[in-house]
Symmetry: C2
Subunit: 191 residues, 2 copies
Amino acid sequence: MTPLQLSITLPGWADELERVGEVHADPASRMALAVEASRRNVEMGTGGPFGAVLFGAATGRLLALGVNAVVRLRNPVLHAETMAVMRACARYETFTLAHGSGTDEPVDLYSSCEPCAMCLGALLWSGVRRVVFAARRDDAERLGFDEGPVFPETFAYLRRRGVVVEQGPLRSEARDVMAHYHSAGGPIYNG
Amino acid sequence: MTPLQLSITLPGWADELERVGEVHADPASRMALAVEASRRNVEMGTGGPFGAVLFGAATGRLLALGVNAVVRLRNPVLHAETMAVMRACARYETFTLAHGSGTDEPVDLYSSCEPCAMCLGALLWSGVRRVVFAARRDDAERLGFDEGPVFPETFAYLRRRGVVVEQGPLRSEARDVMAHYHSAGGPIYNG
């Protein structure tokens, strides 16, 4: 039997958004890119309304970008956040983005939506130290997306291990992208 | 810039364990394979002491196998469970293993250890309907592995969505593999 090939790629249009090393000094600019990725993913028909970008926390250098690719790549693990983490780790040849182990500065994730249970776990293992989101869990759930088993003590647990999860800018813009996807009949898989 | 290549493979020795379509009628035989994968992963030096196998619940047909590949493939998302799910989905060209959507029978996961927070989320999204584990969360934690933010209400949440997580056979055998890895100085990354 030929070995199973399993490869993970961004959609072609995303190459021009993932400008590795570009500096985004302003947090609003970091989030704008995550939301833009979510918007393009919907417009181009390449996946669900979710985008995520990893930045060096101090410098604002872009490390990697991800978009939801569950349906396109037929892989339920490929949320925007997991894809961004996998791409950064592949690029820097490390299994951890923790400062001092895999990277020379702490790493922050900007996500167009509050991460689900799987992604919060993945972010803990990834060494990312701060997660900033635009749209909130209940914005996603109102449209039928499930965020999985996440509770108030989840965030306390993460905080004790040095991972902060917090609301950032552009909530209504990110929510608009999700609503547009929903009203255009985009599939709410795992609904 | 050349596009980033990100490919996900089993170690070579695992091909002979992943005999797709082979029938394991007995649940103990299903778990024995998951524990054997964890043991071989340690012996061959290809990753952490964790193995997982997906089976058709009714027929016992083997669908896919995974082993921990975090360090080998430098990818913090590649626990045994996520790898098994990704391989099954790639093989059957589906983003869901839910009965009637992606597969013609319900799918069960047998894992050598109780899944972490990330993997429980991934299993929920994968459509797997039953998760059976050998070693327990506290067996892993006693060796310094972190299982992430998992709480009693996590399992209640999963159950409401049709996913059962339960203790199966071979706990002490699976625990022995983890203890062997630990005493041989295997890295407890993300410890």
